[in-house]
């Protein structure tokens, strides 16, 4: 079994990572974009300037990975405190792990579709 302290260590580290990448994400939608926020979400901006740029895509992908872990581990914590019993614990652990993976894969599809050339 994975130790709880390992899981929480990762929780903290992913949290820190999210803070950095999140700031970048935030910036990319506001002052880094020409025209600022009103302009940031146009298809051109989103796809040509960011998703298709391997660097931006890599950053987003990392952001997604960290978030998937962090958020669903956070949910796991919350749910474990809500109710107890061995059935519940197992259910929460499995569901949250699957949900994290699902979220990650689903998000990855969005980010990488531009690089895989329509393979998905």
């Amino acid at each position: 079994m994975v130790r709880e302290s390992t899981l929480m260590w990762i929780q903290y580290i992913t949290g820190l990572g999210i803070l950095v990448l999140g700031a970048l994400h935030f910036a990319s939608l506001t002052f880094l974009v020409q025209g600022g926020y009103p302009n940031a979400l146009s298809y051109a901006n989103v796809v040509y300037d960011r998703y298709e740029d391997p660097l931006w895509a890599a950053a987003l992908e990392a952001f997604l990975a960290l978030l998937s872990y962090h958020v669903f581990n956070g949910f796991r914590v919350l749910l474990l405190e809500l109710n107890q019993g061995s059935g519940w614990t197992k259910a929460v652990n499995v569901t949250m792990a699957l949900a994290a993976i699902a979220a990650f894969l689903y998000g990855t599809r969005t980010i990488l579709v531009f690089h895989l050339g329509g393979a998905i």
Binding site: Y12, G15, L16, V46, V71, Q84, A103, R109, T110
Partner: protein, 161 residues
């Protein structure tokens, strides 16, 4: 709730639950508010993440079909003061949660929770009057400042000009 009390006492469990326990605010100390807010913000931003993943995935059909409007229409429909108010809250929550998360990380690293003392009457716990508490206030202040900036981006440059 069906959980067994560890000793199987036959008396009513008397546990306070989410509202009376997590969200108990009568006589709450500062850290307790921070805790409550951390829970709330984490939960809300986490749920937003799921919604956000769904939302952004619209770019895939747009790309595959070459019809940019699938995406642009969605963005257009979300370009409203209501949606922006929601985003503002998410931004504020995310900032608060992130900074407070750093504070918790520091606490778990033993930073700013004080040094062991000889307890003296009237007892004032070190952990509640050390650097951690200042940090709590500091991060709240930073959250407010960054939220103000988000307000500028989401409202001032979009709806007011």
């Amino acid at each position: 709730m069906s959980a067994p009390a560890s000793s199987g006492s036959k008396f009513p469990r008397n546990m306070r639950g989410v509202l009376g326990g997590w969200a108990r605010v009568s006589h709450a100390n500062f850290e307790r508010w921070l805790y409550l807010m951390h829970r709330l913000t984490g939960l809300v931003v986490g749920l937003y993440l799921i919604a956000h993943l769904a939302e952004t995935s619209d770019i895939v059909p747009a790309y595959l079909s070459g019809d940019e409007n699938i995406w642009n229409n969605l963005m257009q429909s979300l370009y409203t003061p209501e949606a922006h108010a929601g985003l503002l809250i998410i931004a504020a929550f995310a900032v608060y949660h992130g900074l407070n998360g750093v504070r918790l990380f520091l606490a778990a690293s033993g930073v700013g929770v004080g040094r062991p003392i000889r307890p003296e009457w009237p007892y004032a716990p070190v952990s509640l009057r050390s650097f951690q508490r200042s940090l709590g206030w500091l991060f709240i202040a930073v959250t407010l400042i960054l939220t103000a900036y988000a307000f500028y981006e989401l409202f001032v440059v979009t709806h007011f000009v």
